[in-house]
């Protein structure tokens, strides 16, 4: 059974179908990337799955449980999904350590000591433990990204969602993030990653979902998408010599 099964998911804003029948699976321990032109609904898709946005119709099964229902415990669902935002969204009034302990303390009812132990463990895993007393404004983009990932991991989520984790980073830091995601993969963390960065998608994901105009146009490995499709849109997006998005 897949960790996440999305079926015929639709989201309309007004009369505009931003998601128009999305179906895909995410296996436990798997990594999928979602790519597609700007405005095709990638962020909306991630946010529908954790109910930051209410889907219009369709079904989402999380570990076999329907989670689009009215009586779904939305907060419990969200605690199982670690969300890493493009701009990191660190709490700027809290030091790194406190950013990571908020979740465990408020949601898992851990004591401060226990939560700090957990947080330090995650910060060490991301190699930023020595920054624990720094504030977000004192960190570089790559460091913020790592702290944001540690903050998500501190909740022991079943899956990590990334929304364009590298689009604000320089190429060196982007490769670092790819290394971090690969490390998480080797530790059996499940990941769903929205990105415009083909290199990132190719280096971390088992499969890439190509989204366009609210529909999945293809789901395949990076190499197949690059080399074995005749579809015009896919060729222009992924094909050899495709312009970087």
């Amino acid at each position: 059974m897949a960790l996440l099964e999305v079926r015929h998911l639709k989201k309309t804003f007004g009369d505009r179908a931003v998601l128009d029948g999305i179906s895909f699976d995410l296996e436990e321990g798997g990594i999928k990337a979602i790519m597609g032109p700007s405005g095709c609904g990638k962020s909306t898709l991630l946010r529908c799955i954790n109910r930051l946005i209410e889907p219009t119709s369709g079904s989402i099964l999380f570990r076999g449980q329907e989670v689009t229902g009215r009586d779904t415990d939305v907060r419990a669902l969200r605690q199982m999904i670690g969300f890493v935002f493009q701009n990191y969204a660190l709490y700027r009034h809290l030091c790194v350590l406190d950013n990571v302990t908020v979740g465990p303390r408020k949601l898992k009812r851990m004591s401060r000591r226990e939560a700090e132990g957990k947080a330090l463990h995650e910060l060490q895993r991301l190699n930023v433990a020595d920054l624990r007393h720094s504030f977000p404004s004192q960190l570089s983009g790559g460091q913020k990204q790592r702290v944001a990932i540690a903050r998500a991991l501190a909740m022991d989520p079943a899956v990590l969602f990334f929304d364009e984790p590298t689009s604000a980073l320089d190429p060196v830091m982007a490769r670092e993030v790819a290394a971090v995601i690969n490390q998480l993969h080797s530790e059996n963390v499940t990941v769903l990653c929205v990105t415009h960065d083909f290199e990132l998608a190719r280096s971390v994901a088992d499969r890439i979902i190509f989204l366009r105009d609210g529909r999945i146009r293809a789901e395949d490995t990076a190499d197949n998408l690059r080399n074995h499709y005749d579809d015009h849109e896919i060729r222009t997006f992924f094909g050899p010599g495709a312009a970087p998005v």
Binding site: R75, R78, Y91, R92, V102, F135
Partner: protein, 217 residues
């Protein structure tokens, strides 16, 4: 009577001035915070109430409100002690202005941080308490200092309802000694010192909670 004697005579009133000011600030802070939170949470039924409150307490002069409470309510059978009358007029006025200060600071909280808190699974209330309010209070310090010093400068109205604060002492002293120049100079100095103590107090508190990169002065 030396200048020091004058200061000594007036300082009886200073305790009342400080007391009235602190009581009104405490009222204003509590009410202002509550109103800002209620408006932030967007409770439908509360919106008309807070709007009326803001309109009345910002639109009617302080002295009028004070007299309505202190001299008006007793005719309806409600006796209001002088300090309570000050809190219900000056305190609630500063609450109205402070709630606007707080609202502005709340609007300056990064929406993505709120979204991140929700995505983590925090409730609306937890998000408000752990993320929005701590940032808002830090950002509100300049506005709060403004409002607190305004309260101090309206505190002499307490004299009209019989609280023996600095101005009351001063006028009594002037009528017996006829040394208006020195006495009112001393009054000015006393208000100025209280003003500075107030500002220093707020700055001290702010320094304890200062976060690098969050606010600039």
């Amino acid at each position: 009577m030396t200048f020091v004697d004058i200061i000594a005579a007036l300082s009886k009133g200073a305790a009342y001035t400080v007391g009235v000011t602190v009581a009104c600030i405490a009222t204003g802070f509590t009410v202002g915070l509550a109103v800002a939170v209620i408006r932030r949470l967007g409770w439908r039924f509360a919106a008309p109430l807070t709007n009326v409150y803001l309109a009345v307490f910002r639109g009617v002069p302080m002295l009028v409100l004070l007299f309505m409470v202190f001299f008006g309510l007793p005719s309806l059978g409600i006796q209001v002690p002088p300090l309570a009358a000050m809190m219900l007029s000056l305190g609630l006025i500063s609450g109205a202005y402070l709630s606007e200060v707080f609202r502005g600071a709340l609007n300056a909280v990064e929406p993505d941080e709120i979204l991140a808190a929700q995505a983590m699974g925090l409730t609306r209330w937890q998000t408000l308490r752990c993320i929005e309010l701590p940032q808002m209070l830090r950002a509100s310090v300049p506005g709060m200092i403004n409002e607190f010093t305004t309260v101090l400068k309206y505190s002499p109205f307490a004299y009209t309802v019989g609280i023996p604060e600095i101005m009351k002492q001063a006028t009594a002293l002037v009528s017996t000694t006829m040394r208006g120049v020195e006495i009112y100079l001393a009054v000015g100095l006393m208000y100025f010192s209280i003003y500075w103590m107030l500002v220093l107090g707020v700055w001290t508190i702010e320094r304890c909670f200062r976060v690098p990169g969050l606010t600039h002065r």
